[in-house]
Subunit: 241 residues, 2 copies
């Protein structure tokens, strides 16, 4: 599911930023080609930003920045950093003031795993937006945005957005729920080492925690092994021929 961001549908003009990382990757406009007014990088979250700013901010943040929740600690290094910056090699990073040599090997590998190109991040942001609007109880997207998302991902499916892991429908209202300041919905990765629209979605926090560093398939295999030992009666007997 790689999108073609340069098929002429989108503006894609470079947007000037004052970020010290602007030399790493050009940030681009994703309004429609030939739009009037100012360029915008993520116009597709603009409607959510007006009505549900925390949901919009989550999409922007999780699509673009490395996530740090699982390894937040003193030795964790730059806790959130632009994912495409982590594509640079150690020498290039040093020029940006990031000295990977000072970090623990596990932290380095975590950071490197979360690297993704700028376009992949934008596609993830678009995909998360589509998933949000397809949650039960979500607001309707403005007509123009609905068309935009259908151009990118095809017609909105009948089936509502589910947790990537447990496959139960996730209601939009769950964005409001939080336990001890921890959001009940997290973005998650079928393969924690791949950040692409195809591989990313939403999950219940408890599902995401249970999956941990495993791939989704690895997680299913693991819980199957547990259940086969704990509840062997659930499975067809191998001996019955």
């Amino acid at each position: 599911m790689r999108l073609d961001l340069d098929d002429g549908y989108l503006c894609r003009k470079e947007i000037q930023t004052r970020s010290r990382f602007s030399a790493c990757a050009a940030r681009r406009c994703h309004r429609l080609a030939g739009h009037e007014g100012k360029c915008q990088e993520m116009p597709f979250v603009g409607d959510l930003a007006a009505t549900h700013p925390r949901v919009a901010a989550k999409i922007e943040r999780d699509s673009v920045m490395t996530t740090g929740a699982a390894w937040k600690s003193e030795e964790a290094g730059p806790n959130r950093i632009l994912r495409w910056v982590m594509l640079l090699d150690d020498n290039e990073l040093l020029e940006f003031g990031i000295d990977m040599a000072t970090l623990q090997p596990q932290v380095i590998s975590k950071l490197r795993e979360k690297a993704a190109s700028y376009d992949e991040c934008i596609e993830v942001a678009m995909w998360l937006t589509r998933l949000v609007y397809n949650m039960p109880g979500a607001p309707e997207p403005p007509a123009e945005l609905g068309t935009y998302l259908e151009h990118m991902f095809g017609p909105t499916p009948e089936e509502k957005t589910t947790c990537v892991i447990c496959l139960e429908t996730i209601p939009f209202s769950l964005f409001q729920a939080a336990r001890r300041g921890k959001a009940a919905i997290e973005t998650c990765h079928k393969d924690p080492r791949v950040h692409s629209a195809e591989n990313v979605g939403f999950a219940h926090r408890e599902c995401n925690i249970a999956q941990g560093a495993k791939t989704l398939e690895g997680f299913y295999d693991w819980i199957e092994r547990i259940l086969r030992r704990a509840k062997p009666g659930l499975f067809p007997s191998q001996l019955r021929l």
Copy 2:
């Protein structure tokens, strides 16, 4: 599996401590009745304390103190506290300088869940010791200690100690393993709200994290529901009559 600590096998004399909590519960000697020399509260971990001090310290700590890993944060309040102190009511706690009113409700309920009587804690410590010695690759207990543990829990079973959750055997060597300072073996509770020998054991860290706040049965039910959705082909069809 409540043990009778007062069946005359054990000394059970009160041990004086200088803890500010000594008024809450008398700490007692668990050497054999009629022993010579000094009283000791947990003589059964003495051998491990000499050869594997971190394992012994873990047994002593996890049996007696509330655990805080899952809710360590600024608002977490007294992160580790004697479990039987958490049996006191708010006014009694205030006399010990612990003001529960200053804590978040979730923190209070976590702390209260972890309350247990002094004797329950001692039984848990004995049981964890028995489980450790029954891990593959564990040291042999001194003969006298072997007899002691068999008096408490009956003959050592053929089956080696398993993870309470995934039911795979846990090798003793896993006590040495750690990822980012997090031990690979954790003590765990089949019901997180009950601290008794019957309900406590060891688990892989990843298993314990996946179980989270659920009971073990609740966890199995949960992963069964996930697998039934994710891998329906694993289960016998309900329609086949």
